[in-house]
Symmetry: C2
Subunit: 220 residues, 2 copies
Amino acid sequence: MGRNKYPEETVAKILDAALELFCVRGYEGTSIQDIVDRLDGMTKGAVYHHFKSKEEIFNAAFDRAMTPIVEHRRSMLDIGNMTGAQKLKRLYAPESVVPQIELWARMRPAADPVKSSRLLAMQYQGSFDESADGYLLPVIEEGIADGSIACECPREAAEAVSLLANLWLLPLFRPLEPKERMLARAQCLAQMAAAVGLDLGNEVLQTTAQIWDVWNRAGW
Amino acid sequence: MGRNKYPEETVAKILDAALELFCVRGYEGTSIQDIVDRLDGMTKGAVYHHFKSKEEIFNAAFDRAMTPIVEHRRSMLDIGNMTGAQKLKRLYAPESVVPQIELWARMRPAADPVKSSRLLAMQYQGSFDESADGYLLPVIEEGIADGSIACECPREAAEAVSLLANLWLLPLFRPLEPKERMLARAQCLAQMAAAVGLDLGNEVLQTTAQIWDVWNRAGW
DNA sequence: TAAATACATACTAACAGTATGTATTTGGGG
DNA sequence: CCCCAAATACATACTGTTAGTATGTATTTA
């Protein structure tokens, strides 16, 4: 294959192939050659021209998949003047999550935590980042400041909720549970969050239900 | 090195070396040769005589480290005739966890989730097993049966508590937090658990404090 | 004493990564 | 607008390392 006038198309192709393979076969289970074989005609030289290592490809593919999801969710906080409590509910409302659900489809990993361990680790790390440096803790603190949230341990509550939402409620690395079980998890999470002063809102149940519908329709 | 009359000694040496290396350098970062180099005089042939793959070595090393910890905790439930609620509290009391804490020292992984991703995945998977097929859910159901526990979503509560205890309260894959932050997590977890009907007991705070002391003394 | 066991030695195939070559595009001076 | 040098986008060919295998040999067991 000759040189492409628009190299970002090549990069996109590489990352698309990489993401799917990393999800299905895991990080270890995917070789650079596996990725190259899906880029018909292209060779390893092209890949190593755009990326300097396998790890960099993985990180780039992961970021590329996550960025629009995170950005959309964060953008939900920028509209109007809401209290902290309202912003918190909005974060778990369908409008913040469901429109991006199809994108999650592209990074549906193998339902085997060990095979997906690297993705799991990214999500685990991301849960702390999301709560600490990201949007969750700031929103809670905003709510405390404006009097709409009463929470004695904002950091801990944010971390716990973030972890449970990312690694348990959305069972990315486990087989899809029956719908009523996923709803039970949402209910349970909401109750636990409420106990530490965080009202996630009733909409979290609808959000969960809609996510389940999309995933189930996609045949997971 | 000649043939050892007691091959289980050889196996133990291999697993000891493997566990430490896997923890410090991660699964990917550890080669079979690295392990062999720590078994002075022994060669790769010996290793592949006792184990058929790197993965099997990892699993064996992990099991070997975890078994006594899990067994001890489970044994705490066998004494006397306790109600489900009493058993639940006992699971998080110092006597169930602290005596085995030194053993955890041997499998202290790198405080980098990605490097430790395989261990993290095992712990993640283990959290579900522990709650579902293990001892936590049975104890809760026993408590419901004998009337000492009122919990509407026993499975969900068990999973959530198990996940938070294993991946958050005991921050194996993250740098050790200041003591007061770990205690805040324990307090927060207890509050959340209480909201879904699980009383982990006040002793969980002492347990956490003692774990912190041991880990901190060990220089983490 | 024959079979099984516990290793050592020597090798292979696959893999991540590198060095280098070559065509194509870009961008600036005339 | 054209020419040419530099940069870019790849391809080709190679290297070192690694997990794993095949096979040989001494020791123990039964």
